[in-house]
Symmetry: C2
Subunit: 533 residues, 2 copies
């Protein structure tokens, strides 16, 4: 088993040649049943003390917070300048009273009752994001499961051929029927020697056994006719053992299944992917808890909210930050020895600065994606009461709406909030052109196709188009091969006395974990420089 | 959409001919996208008042509790006689201080710290068990997710051919690789016209698209080479995009996959089945909460604990129950107008009674299964800290141990309890022959193959062999075609003034829901009789 410490990781990476490109072959590594070489799991263990060296952290987001906190623990004099009225950045749990402003849309204020919330940014934590877990433990943030794939939720595809067009179907129906039919096809092909099988006769038999079991096909004739995995037309009780539903044919399913898996770049099939498997957790009251409670208390008065950075200046001796208190309009300056900058590149490129030309080119060289997420509060949890959906997501190909996310918390409470739309790319662009209320009206018009109760139970909604948000101007960096090679290495290196920090400085983009890993990396670099200084 | 009310359900069942056998065809029903005809979702809405009619309920289990409580609400004078020192019956959440006695084994007392627990009986609630949900709502019992399938848990198969013998592998590795290889085989067969495909050319293309997406095979050559769904050898971070693991070959996997799916009658593949899909919830502190808190408070002093039924007598006028206070040894009698009996058939057949001969034959005609579940408390949650397993189960073919269940609650707490063995059939029989401590020693010897930390972190354990428990003498009824036809209908009917109640009176056996549905059915029958009285 490999140690999780940084040094060992680096040694291993060198050893096996798995450099940034990741192209190197590492057959020596494949020791099945071993743990993967982990990313760093705890903050770097560093010797020495910052002795009051003054560090200004720009942005109290998922990168700025852990960076500031580790520096505090190392004896630095830390000041955090944050433009928003809260810590957390994109990790934004919207609750009653939450505020948010987009360019051209004005301010929206959330009016939900206490206890209701939705995550407008990242909302779920994969099992291997140990940087996040480190702070969740340190600050005693309780975790609950995040159910990414609830097979009792709906799949709904429009404009597809066949009888299942525009019908909401349970995911367990699609999953069971498609597994059944594909297993039948493969098992019969093997059984009748229609296949150039790479397997021995004994292996063929094992594969057929496997297909019978997972695919729920008949052991007698290898045919799929539906089993209880696909669900019932009549549920079992005291009166009857129930009646298993009759599956639509494979031909009926194909247009839906094919469309469902291709929609939004495979968002449904991604529920099986490493990051999104049945392994996700999250803070009990939204990811914002880690920042609103944990880091807020830890960092205390070091954090200056509602302070927007106007200029980032530096000399050989130190840094100077010009910022504006957006509540008073007052412009102020602060000086320090170093700066750690957690501002997204999309915003940073617009802030006057003394960055070197190659750094400026790198900052400008990484485009950002658009994304919008909408939470809608309802008077009644009809998805639980009427549809028996406890958490998870419904998948639709309704443009702009796309995903319906159900709360994994407070089952059986009276009211609830749905993630009522999650769109990116041009869908996000289009939906974000509308006013806050128009966005909701549009989404409800679509949503009633899945949940007819939506309009009747509607209370109020809240949407965040990250690309229109002045302190984000984008959802996450959209690296391609070129920007990763040409600009990413430069961005990871300090420019004079300024170090960038955030998920955009990692390969774990759009995840909180990337920001934590980056914070640890930059703190280590900065501290090493100060100690050598 | 179908109404959930009882009358409508019965009408629908009649309409479509789906009688007890469930054999009737009901193609008219298959209105895709509709809700299934539900079992009863709320207690029967009954007119009239029991006006103090005296009902003695034998057993405060999952059938007795709701029956007693509904009768109380209908104005009956209810007394509950319970042999154990707690309510809940098989719904037994073991906590520090819990006690339990098996024939020949003496008493065991649980010594875990406060807050630690495991469910020795039923532990998870499928989304459609609305009878359970009804009471969880009524008594404000908070629910959390139950993660049945955590793809980051382990699969471990011994005595199988090939290089993966006796290697612990992550479930996501098996799932991704097997999906990949089977998709590759099928897609290539379709693509090269090796298959007698029942599909059109256009449908063939859609199916190949589907396989590319779910099966993660290359769109270029339809070959599976491993994707991030199978996991990493090196995790992504700030340094590298990570290195995806190299999959074992299909030939390497087959012995493991085939064995894993056949073990224990397909317990792993059952995670995809209707009852066990990614849709399960449970009370936050164990299913026992519903009884220890909810029903206990509701029923109050009507429940007499530690009272073992010695005789069940009846005449034309009433019932007479002879019972023994097991704390004092005192034998007492109680009389009433009717009796609702929640005692398992396996125990009931040994209690002297006036049941009619056909009722006695029915009671004796249903065999029960054996099962043992063991909880082991550990000083450290090594499965979270070291293996990043947050809830779910590991699947092994180690006889007697078989399943490792991880807590879905209190992630990151210091200590934790594993479901450290779950066996039935002859495995349960064998493991249960040992003393409580010997059982634990055996299981730890096996368990270290999956979690080497087990012996070092071990604190104390608690096992329940239900077939050796005097008030259960079995885990659940094992109906076959004959006993279902010959005895089940008789058991559902009253014998004189005695009505049986429990999961054994339903088609939802071994689930709490079956007991609730049965309670509602028998309360309705009894009340109807009293009203006609």
């Amino acid at each position: 088993m490999f140690s999780n410490s940084r040094v060992t990781r680096r040694q291993v990476l060198q050893l096996i040649g798995a450099s940034a490109g990741g192209a190197a072959v590492m057959n020596t590594m494949t020791a099945w049943g071993h743990m993967p070489v982990a990313a760093q799991t705890t903050p770097p263990k560093l010797d020495g003390n910052g002795n009051g060296t003054k560090v200004i952290v720009l942005g109290a987001g998922p990168g700025g917070c852990p960076a500031a906190w580790e520096l505090v623990k190392l004896g630095y004099d830390v000041t955090v300048i944050e433009a928003r009225d809260r810590l957390g950045g994109h990790a934004f749990t919207v609750r009653g009273g939450s505020r948010h402003t987009e360019y051209g849309k004005g301010e929206e204020v959330c009016t939900w009752d206490e206890g209701l919330w939705f995550d407008a940014g990242p909302s779920r934590i994969p099992f291997y994001h140990q940087g996040f877990f480190h702070y969740a433990k340190e600050f005693n943030i309780p975790l609950i499961d995040h159910k990414n794939l609830n097979l009792n939720a709906w799949v709904y595809m429009e404009d597809v051929a066949g009888p299942l067009n525009a019908k909401r179907m349970r995911l367990h129906e699609m999953q069971a029927d498609m597994a059944g039919y594909t297993s039948e096809l493969l098992a019969k092909a093997i059984n009748t020697d229609q296949l150039d099988s790479p397997l021995t006769a004994e292996e063929d038999d094992m594969l057929i056994d496997y297909l019978i079991n997972w695919g729920m096909i008949s052991a007698r004739d290898l045919t799929y006719r539906g089993t209880d995995t696909r669900g019932y037309d009549v549920l079992p009780d005291t009166q009857s053992p129930g009646k298993i539903g009759t599956p639509p044919s494979l031909s009926d399913w194909l247009p839906v299944a094919s469309a469902a898996l291709q929609w939004q770049g495979g968002y449904l099939s991604a529920t099986a992917a490493f990051d999104w498997q049945t392994t996700l957790v999250k803070p009990k009251e939204g990811v914002g808890q880690l920042y609103e409670e944990g880091f807020k208390q830890a960092l205390g008065e070091r954090v200056h909210l509602n302070c927007k950075v106007n200029e980032i200046r530096q000399s050989d001796d130190g840094v100077r930050i010009v910022y504006e208190d957006t509540t008073s309009g007052e412009v102020q300056e602060i000086t320090g020895d170093y700066c750690l900058c957690n501002i997204p590149l999309s915003v940073l490129l617009r802030i006057p600065s003394d960055f070197s030309s190659d750094m400026k080119a790198a900052i400008q060289g990484v485009p950002y994606d658009m994304a919008i997420r909408m939470g809608v509060g309802y008077k009644r949890r009809f998805w639980e009461e009427d549809d028996q959906i406890y958490g998870g997501q419904s998948f639709t190909n309704l443009p702009e709406l796309s995903i319906l996310g159900y709360p994994d918390n407070d089952y059986h409470a009276q009211k609830g909030v749905l993630l009522n739309a999650y769109a990116w790319g041009t869908d996000a662009a289009h939906l974000s052109t509308f006013s806050y209320q128009e966005r909701i009206d549009r989404i409800l018009d679509m949503g009633v196709k899945i949940h007819p109760q939506m309009k009747e139970e509607y209370e109020s909604g809240f949407s965040v188009a990250w690309h229109l948000e002045p302190y984000s101007l984008g959802a996450w960096p959209n690296y391609n091969e070129r920007s990763r090679t040409q600009f990413f290495p430069r961005l990871q290196e300090p420019d004079g006395r300024v170090y960038l920090v955030g998920e955009h400085l990692s390969y774990v983009n759009a995840w909180i974990e990337g920001a934590v890993q980056s914070a640890w990396l930059q703190v280590e670099k900065l501290h090493s420089r100060v100690m050598q200084g």
